[in-house]
């Protein structure tokens, strides 16, 4: 080979294909008579027996598989097919890059939110004011999830088990949404603690300047809990909190429904009645009892038997 000639990927692939083809061709054409069950020549009786039975069947399957692979390799070694395959393989990295890029952009946005949040920590937080609660982070998480991940769970399911797949995907989806809402809800309860720390700091500074330092730590605790209570009272009445609470409740209810549906699917395989089945029974019993009571009152003017 010429030193200056650089081997192209197509040539390498073609060489590899040919080698593989030769190998499997040789393997496929090995005579069954020459091979005995234990690989020892001379045991012709064993070789005769090997012509029939499961071993011969396995060998036939192996031969057929080898021939299929041969024809595949032959097809791939044709220049035009090889060319098409190389083009296809070229696009795989591009596809992966696109997916990675999307995920990275989402992650960078999220990180930006975190950094902005961290930067705000040094700023003064207004006491008894909850209009500036940083909910953008949670909004970003939710948007990232809805934009990048939720669509995979919403892909239409196919086949015999499509309904079960759908319900399972729905359960996962609602679980993730609930977790996001719950995180935001719990964060709301952390905010007053943060604000109280800020207010306490200011008060302690004032007290230190005027020399009104208590030697009883209980006083500081009482001061802290009173300020905290005030912050919570303001927060819990605010529309921001009510909205987050409503969102959390709604996502909890949806998650619960989705989980119920998924668990019912699982329980159907077991000899255990599901909540859905029991609820139907309970409803029937409820209506029946109501009817019996009404009829009982009509008949003898008294409700159904009771302990007196």
């Amino acid at each position: 080979m010429d030193d200056k000639h650089q081997t192209t990927p197509e040539e390498m692939f073609s060489f590899w294909m040919k080698s593989a083809m030769d190998f499997w061709q040789n393997m496929a054409t090995v005579q069954p008579e020459a091979s005995t069950p234990f690989g020892f020549p001379g045991f012709t009786d064993a070789g005769e027996k090997a012509k029939k039975g499961p071993t011969r069947k396995a060998q036939k399957n192996f031969e057929a598989g080898g021939k299929i692979f041969q024809s595949l390799m032959k097809s791939f070694s044709k220049p035009e097919n090889l060319d098409a395959m190389m083009k296809g393989m070229d696009s795989v990295p591009d596809l992966a890059m696109v997916m990675m890029k999307q995920a990275m952009e989402g992650y960078q946005e999220l990180q930006k939110q975190f950094m902005e949040r961290a930067a705000k920590m040094g700023q003064q937080s207004k006491a008894y004011n909850f209009e500036d609660i940083d909910q953008d982070t949670f909004r970003a998480i939710r948007e990232l999830y809805e934009k990048e991940f939720q669509k995979f769970l919403k892909v239409p399911s196919l086949g015999l088990t499509r309904f079960y797949q759908e319900r399972f995907n729905d359960y996962l989806d609602k679980h993730n949404l609930f977790q996001t809402s719950l995180s935001e809800f719990l964060y709301m309860f952390y905010v007053p603690i943060e604000k109280t720390a800020g207010v306490m700091q200011e008060k302690l500074e004032e007290m230190a300047e005027t020399g009104e330092i208590h030697d009883d730590f209980n006083q500081y605790y009482k001061m802290w809990v009173k300020i905290l209570e005030g912050h919570y009272m303001t927060l819990l009445k605010s529309p921001e909190y009510t909205q987050v609470m409503d969102k959390t409740i709604s996502s909890l209810v949806q998650y619960r429904d989705a989980k119920e549906a998924f668990v019912c699917d699982l329980l159907q395989r077991l000899p255990i009645p599901t909540n859905r089945e029991m609820d139907e029974l309970y409803k029937e019993i409820y209506h029946l009892k109501k009817k019996v009571r009404a009829l009982s009152k009509q008949v003898d003017g008294r409700p159904s038997p009771k302990k007196g």
Binding site: A208, V225, L236, R256, K306
Partner: protein, 419 residues
């Protein structure tokens, strides 16, 4: 060199003292916690006289019966009625028994999934009606005294409007009837969220979730400060016993039947139908004007669950002539468990019922304005002076004029058959 503003030496000295105190407290605390503690609730003897589904009725018999008409107490579906019999010395039930009143109390039990379809109508017109019929039949009486607490009070109001002929006197305590207020957090949350969906999602509204909601009403005090206070007094046996008793009661929360919960939130909290006379139970409208029996309405000034704004409108809407509001300087639970209110609350009710024991049911007795000191039958103490009784205004002249008008109207119209 100027004197330091912070006396570090004093702080350190205090810290040392506190550490020594904490050590001594811990030693006593272990003796208290590991020793015998009397924390049982509901120790007043009773007999279960009626059972229907999950509900049962407890009967408390006094040593000497001095009241002709028994008192039926209807508690809320949230938490347990054992609060009325928390401990000896702090038992509303015992006070009633000491005043010679036979007491029946509904124990709503612990709903299971099969109870999720029960409605408010089932609780009011089925369970309550059956219990009242049973009691009336047992005593051979045409009517009895009814006392409702919180949501049980709302049920009692509904029942009294639908079956006024069976109720002699009505007492409502910390009872929400007007839900159009933003004073209480519960009102804000119930009106601005879809909390009622939780009942449907779980079948019944879980008691644990409700407990969590109540804790969130004031997390600083109810989750942090309460337990700090406990640890500060952990070496005090009486304190620990009272604390544990309250803990036992407050976290003993049955589930609420899902349909009832949903109905109560949507029709009461969100649409406020009760006070507007628009609430319907099984097609029958609850008309507060049909409540004509004497009414005593007690509520707490510092009640964060059922604020005064939610309670005080009831007396203006009922058809009763004999009606009275009492606002006590206490909260939602304090009205039953605080030792101060024990001397005001139950004796006041007993006295009020005694005054109306012999009056005919349809008497148009006018409640005259009295000074707060003269109203209560309880022994006068410093705490009694803090009770602020509100009576209806200008009742005397107004009532007389109305009686004349009603009598004239009745003469001119043909009599209608009673339902």
């Amino acid at each position: 060199m100027s004197e330091p503003k912070i006396a570090v030496d004093l702080i350190l000295k205090k810290l040392t003292e506190n550490t020594e105190q904490a050590k001594s407290r811990a030693q006593k605390a272990s003796e208290v916690l590991l020793g015998p503690l009397e924390t049982d609730l509901s120790t007043t003897p009773f007999e279960v006289v009626y059972e229907e589904d999950r509900m049962r009725v407890k009967y408390y018999k006094p040593e000497k019966v001095t009241h002709k008409y028994p008192l039926l107490i209807v508690y809320a579906l949230i938490n347990r009625e054992t609060m009325l019999d928390l401990q000896p010395g702090r038992s509303v039930i015992q006070t009633f028994l000491d005043n010679g009143i036979e007491v029946y109390m509904i124990d709503w039990g612990y709903p299971t999934r099969k109870d999720q379809f029960l409605t408010i109508d089932d609780h009011v017109n089925m369970y309550m009606d059956n219990v009242i019929d049973f009691i009336l039949e047992k005593h051979g009486l045409p009517h009895l005294n009814l006392m409702g607490i919180c949501m049980g009070g709302a049920f009692s109001v509904m029942y009294s409007a639908l079956h006024p002929e069976k109720i002699k006197n009505l007492v409502t305590t910390v009872t929400p009837t007007n839900f159009d207020t933003d004073t209480g957090l519960l009102h804000i949350w119930m009106r601005n969220t879809h909390a009622y969906d939780m009942g449907s999602a779980y079948g019944n509204m879980p008691g644990d979730l409700m407990n969590l909601g109540f804790l969130l009403l004031n997390p600083a005090r109810l989750i942090i400060d309460k337990y700090v206070g406990f640890f500060e007094h952990i070496d005090n046996k009486d304190f620990v016993e009272n604390f544990v008793r309250m803990e036992k009661w407050i976290f003993d929360s049955p589930d609420v039947p899902g349909t009832t919960f949903r109905q109560f939130i949507t029709e009461c909290y969100q649409k406020n139908l009760l006070i507007q006379n628009k609430l319907e139970l099984d097609g029958k409208r609850v008309d507060l004007k049909k409540i004509t029996m004497p009414l005593l309405n007690i509520y707490g000034k510092f009640d964060h669950l059922v604020p005064p704004e939610a309670c005080e409108h009831l007396t203006q809407k009922v058809g009763s002539k004999d009606k009275e509001d009492i606002c006590l300087d206490t909260g939602h639970i304090g009205i039953y468990v605080s030792s101060k209110c024990q001397r005001l609350f139950a004796p006041k009710i007993a006295g009020w019922l005694r005054e109306r024991e012999d009056t005919p049911k349809k008497a148009t007795r006018t409640r005259k304005k009295k000074t707060p000191a003269a109203e209560t039958a309880a022994p006068k103490t410093a705490a009694t002076r803090s009770v602020k009784a509100k009576t209806t205004k200008a009742e005397g002249a107004e009532t007389k004029a109305k009686i004349k008008k009603d009598t004239a109207a009745a003469r001119s119209k043909p009599k209608r058959a009673k339902k």
